[in-house]
Amino acid sequence: MLGLQILIDGFAISSLYAIGAMGFTLIFGVSGVLNLSHGGIMAIAAVIGWLAAGDLGLGTYLGTLVGVIAGLVASYVTYFVVILPIQRSRAIPRDETEIFILTGTLLWGIMIQVGLAWLFTDNPVTMRPLIEGVTYIAGVRTPRNEIMIAVICWVVIGLLWLLVNRTPAGKRLLAASINPRGLTLLGFDLSRIYFFVWGIYGVLAGVAGVLLASFLGVSSASAGQLTASAFSIVVLGGLGSVSGSLVAAYVVGYLETITAYLIAPTLRPIPALLLLVLVIYVRPQGILGRR
């Protein structure tokens, strides 16, 4: 019984982690950026979505949509205000760009966190469930919302897969992550591709943020932890590998769920972190990473 509970809960949370992590790694793979304000973007989506659903009276579904759009906007603001200026800056030596981006996005993440708390609230916000009620799966009491979330996540994952593997635009993204110069030689301007990928990222982070709010609740204070989870998963799965992130999300999600149920809820993040340390020492490129 407990095992089944773990299986179900773990599945739901892993699916959520997967969306966020896949976005994070997509940005790294295509545009070379480690966005440490990732959790902040998720938090923005969650808070705006909650606001729209509740205070603005738009209801849960529309509120969710508004939240995702907020994530998209936040993603573009991050790109144009923080990332692009650093990449284009002539004052920063080429080999230090990465460090500046890491620091810049870290700062930006803090700004988002504090800004959200001040403008709205730093209490955890919870979205009302998209579907009310519970059902029983093989005897385990499961909120219908949880199932809905898992379904939505997989629909998104499916759409992403279709996009990357079956559409020309998606193929270009994949090509950009393999060889950006090759793409330029084929007549594609990389700036357009970056614009596209940051848009996809915004949607993914937005969906992850809003759904998380619906499932567990999100507060501005957890922005940092969300970023930390995402990059742990991404490093575990292999930086730049979208399928690696998917697999790693499930590994981490289940590790956390098992820990929470069988050991202690407070120790939730530990095993994943330990696994991460192990992986870094033994196989730094991650499970499915290329190197």
């Binding site: 793409l183 030689l185 084929l186 007549g187 594609f188």
Partner: protein, 489 residues
């Protein structure tokens, strides 16, 4: 081992996964001699140097310095044992002055010695003086001209009085007078009794300087002897020139008279401080096939990258009436000037089909299909490999895929940069035939950059020779065979 042998390499082998970069190379370096290690790109010559210096681990064989077996030594230990190295690209510490850079070379490898010995300053100045840097010792590297940066590298290499000096491409980027000055400097090293190993891909440029030459190709030794002996060696000539130089007879000379389709005017490119292109001008008429011939490092790739908008340059490039400086790199390719680069830039993890498909993205669906079918006919081997990942293809197949992908864009002008690099003769024939058919079937204009003159000549309407960043010769292939033939190498 005779008393004067300073460095001995025996059966040296280096494997990178499946690729054998150096195969069974044995050589000896004596005190008071300059040995030239020559070979084209991919010959393994730079790898040999890195192996000696301990920068890469050895797969097989031994390296002996004097009495010591240094095969498995880490580079800092090799350096302390008396080997100095000058890398191909200068590596200064930018935040330190010239003097401080040289002083660094004189410091002991100690964690505890906080202050340098008193004589370090004096010695550093003496070395700076020796290489001709005394006027600039207090300046920072970013303010120095290219030749002075190279001088500083020489200074660092000889600072601790090494018995063996390794120099990678000593003259790349230097003007003729600077080459003379550097040659004197290197001769000076030899006259002091040091053993000097020069690595270069151009026999001609080092011929006057070296005592002996060791020629390599695809990781193996192909010839050894004096510079004249090696230049006359048939295997060496075949590798450098590709064999007999014949020009095809039926070339269309009318192309030269037409208004220029592509006009490159006084284009110069600076790589950091190095003059990679020096006021290069060429013109190509519509439908012409122009070969730009030159050794590795002459500047062909730089020229092509400038044309494709990938490099900043001075001067003007006009194509089909359009000033290319107004377009982005992607825009230039879309406009019809497509490059198939030396490095191919394939999408390794994607299939052949996907690679081709990406090339055809700007065409209508119908046109794309047409082009695709035609190309698979032109390069039948690609049809077989359609679903395979590009990186699993052999070298020749990858080259064909790269060319096919570029052609998928239905370009007005195709630039081919060193398509024959590293390919077996059989593949070259296939490639040659494909180019012929291409010219028969379509009005495409082609610019071919090649070191392999045998491949470059038969197809060409006109030939340019690029040497040390400058165009030094222009004319038709027949004249080239007569005039430049023997002197080319």
């Amino acid at each position: 081992m005779s008393a004067s042998v300073r460095l001995k390499v025996e059966s040296l082998t280096k494997r990178y996964g499946g690729l054998v970069a150096v195969k069974n190379v044995s050589l000896e370096l004596h005190a008071g001699e300059i040995l030239g290690l020559i070979g084209p790109n991919g010959s393994g010559k730079s790898t040999v140097m890195k192996l000696v210096m301990g920068i890469e681990p050895v797969t097989g064989g031994t390296i002996t310095l004097g009495d010591a077996d240094i095969t498995r030594w880490p580079s800092h230990r090799v350096a302390r044992a008396g080997v100095g190295i000058v890398f191909q690209h200068s590596r200064p510490l930018h935040r330190q002055t010239v003097l401080e850079n040289i002083k660094l070379a004189l410091l002991p490898d100690s964690l505890l010695r906080l202050f340098a010995d008193r004589d370090v300053d004096t010695r550093a100045r003496a070395i700076a003086d020796r290489v001709g840097l005394s006027a600039v010792v207090n300046r920072h590297p970013s303010t120095l001209p290219f030749a002075d940066l190279r001088r500083m590298e020489m200074a660092k290499a000889i600072a601790r009085d090494p018995q063996v000096v390794l120099i990678d491409e000593p003259f790349a980027g230097l003007t003729l007078s600077e080459v003379a000055a550097f040659s004197d400097l290197i001769r000076g090293f030899r006259d002091e009794g040091r053993a000097v190993l020069l690595v270069d891909h151009n026999v001609k440029s080092v011929a006057a300087l070296v005592d002996r030459v060791f020629a390599m190709y695809l990781g193996e030794r192909i010839a050894e002897g004096t510079a004249e002996e090696v230049m006359r060696d048939p295997t060496v000539r075949r590798v450098y020139l590709g064999g007999e130089i014949t020009a095809s007879l039926k070339r269309d000379q009318a192309g030269a008279a037409k208004p220029p389709f592509l006009k490159v005017e006084d284009v110069s490119v600076l790589y950091g401080k190095a003059q990679a292109l020096d006021k290069v001008s060429i013109r190509v008429g519509q439908g012409e096939f122009v070969s730009i011939v030159g050794l590795n490092g002459a500047g062909k790739t730089t020229l092509f990258n400038a044309m494709s908008g990938l490099l900043p340059h001075s001067g003007k490039i006009t194509f089909d009436g359009q000033d290319l400086s107004r377009l982005t790199a992607g825009g230039i390719a879309r406009f019809g000037l497509v490059q198939c680069p030396e490095s191919r830039e394939l999408f390794g993890d994607m299939s052949v089909e996907e690679n081709l498909d990406l090339g055809g993205q700007h065409l209508t669906v119908a046109r794309r299909r047409e082009q695709h079918d035609w190309l698979l006919e032109l390069f039948p081997i690609l049809r077989e490999r359609r679903t395979q990942a590009a990186r699993t293809l052999s070298g020749g197949e990858q080259q064909m895929l790269a060319i096919a992908r570029a052609l998928m864009m239905d370009p007005k002008l195709l630039i081919l940069d060193e398509p024959t690099l590293g390919l077996a003769p059989v593949i070259l024939e296939q490639l040659g035939r494909a180019l012929e058919r291409l010219r028969e079937k379509s009005p495409i204009t082609v610019v071919l950059g090649e070191q392999n003159v045998t491949f470059a000549l038969p197809h060409a309407d006109r030939v340019y020779v690029l040497e040390h960043a400058r165009i030094v010769w222009e004319g038709d292939p027949m004249r080239f065979a007569k005039e430049m033939g023997t002197g080319y190498l």
